[in-house]
Amino acid sequence: MKVILRHLLLLMMFLAGSAQAALTIEITQGVKGAMPIAIVPFSWEGPMTQAPLDVSRLVTENLYRSGRFSPLPEHDMLAKPNDPSRVNFQNWRVLGVENLVIGKVRATANNQYIVQFVLFDVFRSTQITGQTFNVSKTTDLRKTAHQVSDIIYEALLGERGAFDTRIAYVTQSSDASGKPRYSLQVADADGHGPQAILNSREPLMSPSWSPDGKKLAYVTFEGGRPSIYTQDVRLGKREKISGFRGINGAPAWSPDGTRLALVLSKGGNPDIYVMNLLNKKLTRLTRSYAIDTEPVWTPKGDAIVFTSDRGGKPQLYKVSLAGRQVQRLTFEGEYNARATLSPDGRMVAMVHGNGSRYRIAVMDLENGALQVLTDTSLDESPSFAPNGSMIIYATESQNRGVLSAVSVDGRVRQRLVLQEGDAREPVWAPYSK
């Protein structure tokens, strides 16, 4: 197993160095318990000598970085079949491979492709699933590879994959004259294909996805003051939601998309409010002399988890929308802030700090058990993947703001590498509807 691991690391280093890879992957505590799988390089049929995208390599990379799979290195494969009739299951059993993926990519016309794959159960010698994709443009091959990864992930683990999803984040870079330039970016979940949807010379903060994945709410300081906007990601159309005196911060969409939780200090100090997005009516949810901020909705939409220093230091609290009762959630550590809830509502991840180190921790809301997931020191802005399997967050490395993701069990970490500037405040988009 150790040998396989080492080979795998070499393979992944090669993968990371090739073809403008956007991320590096680091397995921190081994892949014990990860499912052995073999993804045979897909065959290519087309006018060029090579497929424009190595679909099977991307699938391999995806499954590996989830931490749930341990893909067999290509050079350990005894055969590389591409057709179901050529599969000899014994070749895979002897290597301890439990599941096998084979496939083909074929160019059918200019920029059009057919991608086929089949997933086998090696020990039962049966096909688990398989699918054919008609891909109508070259740039969609990446999406297809993510979809293939999602299908395999779900077929073998029984939960939905999150490879074909997106993230948003904020970057800061300098223009030619050295002045800061802030951008709100949207990219694939692996960091590939970033596209700026907003540029500003003033700070941008706190992006938050609408539950249908179509809009982002965010804070902008254009005009020298904070205000909250929502923006249609595809159309670019945006609307100013809040520009009150003082803080306008930390927008968070309700699960049904009709309301926005936000932080306003127009009442004297930061409190949590809920705005009805149809009539813009505000309801004040907290009333304290403390800093109440960073609201996140429970999946049912009946309560909000937020950060407050009403007890002296920032800790997480929960307030119900109905009765406004406030309950403290975190007790371990002197600084717990910036909550993100798992999609099933059972776990809360947060920034867990002690004055010198700020790391990402996750807490089981049923029993209160807290586990620190990262070992860097300036970690912030955790955000759950829509399937709850991973948490993306921002950290600092070699004087740059970088994005990382960690599996919820803390075993697998990966770093998304950006071309330039500082990246921060990643938010994982929900499944698009």
Partner: protein, 197 residues
């Protein structure tokens, strides 16, 4: 005092225009300097992402000695004498604190006196935090620091209407390092006179 000397800076709002169109929305910032613009002035240049204009404003930090557009003959704030406490425009704070340290009492008293003597003067207090911890909490902390300075100014004669607090949290550090020497410089309130008298 050393830390104060190092940070004798004036923040001067500078307007400039640039003209380029790009696919993402570029924000327009005509509103800087007109403080009543919270609800307006931002509604241009978007809606059609591909045709949005790009005029921006920025905040430039420069030394007191030159380039200041404040005229010294009319405005004692521009007196370059470092012994003039009005030239101290940055108040520093301890980690996760908003209490004004005793060493800044005289500075705040000087500014309060100036505001009391010049009822037409307006001051913006820009609150900032170091990078540690979460960004929105730091926005709250920056505002608390700004309010803390505003309260002291008010107690010593400034009118509440002369004071405007805006928090930038950790979004606008002056020192980019990741150690206490940088953090100490970033935990601050910057005093900006938006109207001199």
């Amino acid at each position: 005092m050393n830390i104060l000397r190092k940070a004798l800076i004036v923040v001067v709002p500078v307007m400039f225009l640039a003209g380029c169109a790009s696919a993402p929305i570029d924000t327009t910032d005509e509103a800087l300097g007109s403080d009543s613009s919270v609800e307006s002035g931002l509604d241009t240049g978007f809606g059609n992402a591909s045709s949005s204009g790009d005029s921006g404003s920025s905040t430039e930090v420069m030394g007191l000695s030159s380039d200041s557009d404040i005229s010294s003959s009319e405005f004692s704030l521009d007196d370059s004498n470092p012994a003039n406490l009005l030239n101290v425009r940055v108040i520093y704070f301890d980690f996760d604190r908003s209490k004004v340290r005793a060493e800044f009492n005289e500075v705040i008293a000087a500014h309060a006196t100036y505001l009391a003597d010049n009822p037409g003067a307006l001051m913006k207090l820009e609150g900032h935090a170091d990078e540690r911890g979460s960004r929105e909490y730091n926005i709250g902390l920056g505002e608390r620091r700004g309010n803390s300075v505003a309260r002291h100014l008010g107690l010593q004669g400034a009118a509440r209407g002369q004071l405007d607090v805006v928090s930038f949290g950790e979004e606008r550090p002056v020192a980019t390092g990741h150690d206490e020497s940088a953090w100490a410089l970033n935990r601050r309130v910057e005093i900006v006179y938006t109207k001199q008298k």
